[in-house]
């Protein structure tokens, strides 16, 4: 466990795509270390840090693409931004295809999976996480089929019992059932092994469309996958960290967007309660508190927040973003139904996460417009002032059962 953790820490050292200045170790009795320390302190104060910028392209439909592989890797490994469109989360399609086509033996991205599965099952060690899921699903299906079969047999046994009502038989039937159960377990584990073989064999077969993928000259596969960012992620990377260049396609040219242009492109309407602004306020708040924030659409909420990131642990909290207006009658109008919230909560409770309603205080239109219209000489919005108009309040929502909370 600790080995795995260390490995993960090496793979994903930074929680943000910004490097931290590393001072050399200072030994008080060693003069040379003093000198190097002083020099590095001098550099710390005077030199500007290296910040490699990633390129984000906004195409039609407000899709934010990161196409360069290095950029993808940088954004994924340092803070887990975005999602590979052909993968579950980390963009691994290219590597997976290489492995599938036999062009690469032990893909680098597998290194963490390898370690993870060593303890569980040695046969799985060359599989990507997507394949492991597939495997697990197959196992589950198989188990369900087996169970169904067993239940049918049980009914038959009962019918037999109807015909012969003797206590001796009854005992025999019970015995038989128990035997069946044991058999089932053995069967399932047997079948598991054959399944793994199947997947490994499946790799060797070529699909007809594979020809188009392979780039024969470079002995490689064409990269089809890009990393897609949520608009709030792009805005955070651009406005707060300044570590991306955001482009937009203008006919054949690429136009570099300023943060204000990006902002105006992302909002639906320039209103104080725009969904993008609300979401960004929440996103920024939790990012700036050290959490890894990702989309929560899978669980029917707006955001999931991870401590560190998805490979380290499951998400701890699910966030639902709600407005809180100054006008109380408006609040009543938009407040959610009990059934809706309780439905979402049951889903979230089922995956052992806590649900949090994050209310965003919406400023009055007057205040909002004053900041939006008060641009500086370069026609830029003062976002710092804008976002300071907002405020978040967390309300934790959970189901309570009288029978379970007595002591």
């Amino acid at each position: 466990m600790s080995k795995r953790r260390r490995n993960l820490n090496q793979l994903y050292p930074n929680p943000l795509p910004i490097n931290v200045y590393q001072f050399p170790v200072l030994f008080p009795h060693n003069l040379i270390s003093w000198i190097s320390y002083a020099y590095s302190y001098y550099r710390f104060v005077t030199a500007s840090p290296k910040l490699t910028k990633s390129d984000v392209l906004i195409v039609e439909g407000n899709i934010h693409q990161v196409k360069d592989e290095q950029d993808q890797k940088r954004l994924w490994c340092n803070g887990f931004f975005g999602k590979g469109i052909l993968s579950r989360s980390e963009p691994t399609w290219h590597e997976r295809t290489l492995v599938r086509l036999g062009l690469k033996e032990n893909a680098a991205y597998n290194s963490n999976n390898k370690n993870r599965n060593k303890s569980k099952n040695r046969d799985k060690k060359n599989l990507a996480s997507e394949d492991i899921t597939k495997l697990r699903r197959n196992e589950r299906n198989l188990y369900k089929k087996q169970r169904e079969k067993l239940e049918q047999e049980e009914v038959q046994l009962r019918k037999q019992l109807d015909l012969a009502r003797e206590s001796v038989d009854e005992r025999k039937v019970v015995q038989a059932k128990l035997d069946k159960l044991k058999e089932l377990k053995l069967k399932v584990s047997d079948e598991q092994k054959t399944l793994i073989k199947e997947i490994n064999e499946e790799i060797k077969e070529l699909r007809p469309e594979d020809k188009k993928l392979i780039n024969a000259k470079e002995h490689d596969v064409n990269q089809l996958e890009y990393l897609q960012l949520m608009p709030v992620e792009t805005f955070f990377l651009s406005f707060s960290l300044g570590c991306v260049n955001v482009y937009e396609k203008k006919e054949i040219f690429l136009k570099l967007l300023s943060t204000t242009e990006l902002f105006l492109k992302s909002v639906k309407s320039l209103k104080a309660d725009d969904k993008f602004i609300m979401k960004y306020v929440v996103y920024h708040n939790y990012r700036s508190k050290g959490w890894c924030v990702r989309s929560g659409i899978k669980f029917g909420c707006d955001f999931l927040i991870y401590n560190k990131g998805p490979p380290f642990s499951h998400a701890e909290f699910c966030l639902i973003v709600l407005p809180n207006y100054v006008d109380e009658s408006k609040n009543r109008h938009v407040s959610k139904k009990f059934s809706l919230l309780s439905g979402i909560n049951r889903v979230i409770g089922g995956v052992r996460k806590s649900m949090i309603l994050v209310y965003v205080n919406i400023p009055e239109d007057e205040q909002f417009n004053r900041v939006i219209n008060n641009r500086n000489e370069n026609d830029l919005i003062d976002f710092e002032k804008l976002f300071k108009l907002y405020k978040v309040t967390e309300i934790m929502y959970s189901r309570w059962q009288p029978s379970r909370n007595r002591d």
Partner: protein
Amino acid sequence: MEYDSEDNLYDNEVDEEDVKDNFQDWGILSSKLSSSSSSANAASNLFKKGNKDFEPDGTNYQQKLLNNSKHRMYEILRNSDEKFRGHFHKNHLECLYYHDINKAVINKPKGNYFKDIGTVNRYNSDNQLYLNWEELLYLMERGNLEVFNSTNGVPISVQNCYSNCIKSNHDLDKYLVYSTLKRHGYLIQRHNENQDNSDDHNDYTHRQNLQNFVFNGQDDEKSVISTDVLINNDNFFVRNYWSIIKLVNNNSTLKLFKNSIILYLRKKSLLSYPVFASTKHFSSKHYKSYLDIYNSLQLIKYHNPYKRGISFTNYNSNSNSNNNNNNNKFKIIYNIWKPQVNFKKSNPPKPDYKIIILNSNLGNFPTLNDLINIFNKNDTNNDNDYDYDNEKEKENYNNEIANSLKNKKDNVNSKLNKTGKDDKKNNRNNKNKNSSNSNNNSNINNNNNNNKTYSANQLKQMKQKRLMKSLRDGYDNTLLVAVVDNGIISFIKLNEGIISTKILDMK
């Protein structure tokens, strides 16, 4: 107490999810019967719960199982008149119902029920108790209490009692919640806002006024500045600093001069760009740790329940004007305590839960203002609690670190010594040392011998776990919401979150 547990068996609500836990197995009851009395012969053969059958499979076997358990249930209901239904002779109680106050007076209360039920008549030294209508109904419903009319002394029927006591739909919801919780063994009392929280409330409003006073003189821009700065404004140096800044900003030539200097310094990368005003900040300034980066990224204001007086002006100003008509709806109805032995209704401890009761057909989820108002009013924690806890945690943490450092030293020592030949001797020395140490240290040193030292990493993990738990629990001011939907109750637990109040320190 025995009856309390048996009471649960009459509870006909079976939560779908908890079928496994709460499923009525009449076999259990019948076994109790058979052990205590000889009357239940039919139920003597015990049957264990098996797998659930989902659909009829047309076999006699299944039919037989079903018939058996049905039979068992009827048997118990038939035989148990004295035991489980009707009035108990021993605990039979009588009370007089007063129509005008919708209350009943009980003359000689006896039995186990009055731990939380009833209020003592202060003006009458006789052993008299006033029962609220829901308490009256509850006792009557479970067969302990016979109700008589106060005017003519005629007994009141059960039906009559219900129609007298329950005067509105909301009352019905209240009674449903009350009786459900009561049957689950909780201790419940009506929440009395004026009595309990008058001090707190005064204190709160006082703080509120103070806060208004602090903020009133400020314009919008300055109210954004954190309160720490405001407080520091008293400082002579700070005031001077601000005045210089003002002077520079007002004088156009000085301003130009200042700007050109800043520009020059930035180009020479001697001065960093501001964080949010341009995107160049992180390519112009080095950071030592991610904690520093996160600190520089703080931008969004958040609600902090630990600092109630300071952060709540916004809510109250909205809600005072608008919420008056809704005051009735979002009011705490009951205080709830978990079952406990040392409960005194004259001097109850701090309630475990406070509950508001809403009807799902009459409205949606409460708004934030409603919730915060309730949270504000009922926060019984002191403002100092937080700091105290934090300090405690720090202390613990420091102790752990000190211990681990000690361990490391010992480890290094033993390693060094092991290069020599007399490691056995050293081990013995170590052990002697351990025994002379205090309890705490010796424990950890023993761990050390078992190769179970707390490394810095482990310490971090322990700290992380503790933090996560506290975040998951939220702020210690729990509000229950009972949502009644046509007689079905669903409970929701609400807390104020405290995630935003802390920065996760990863490194």
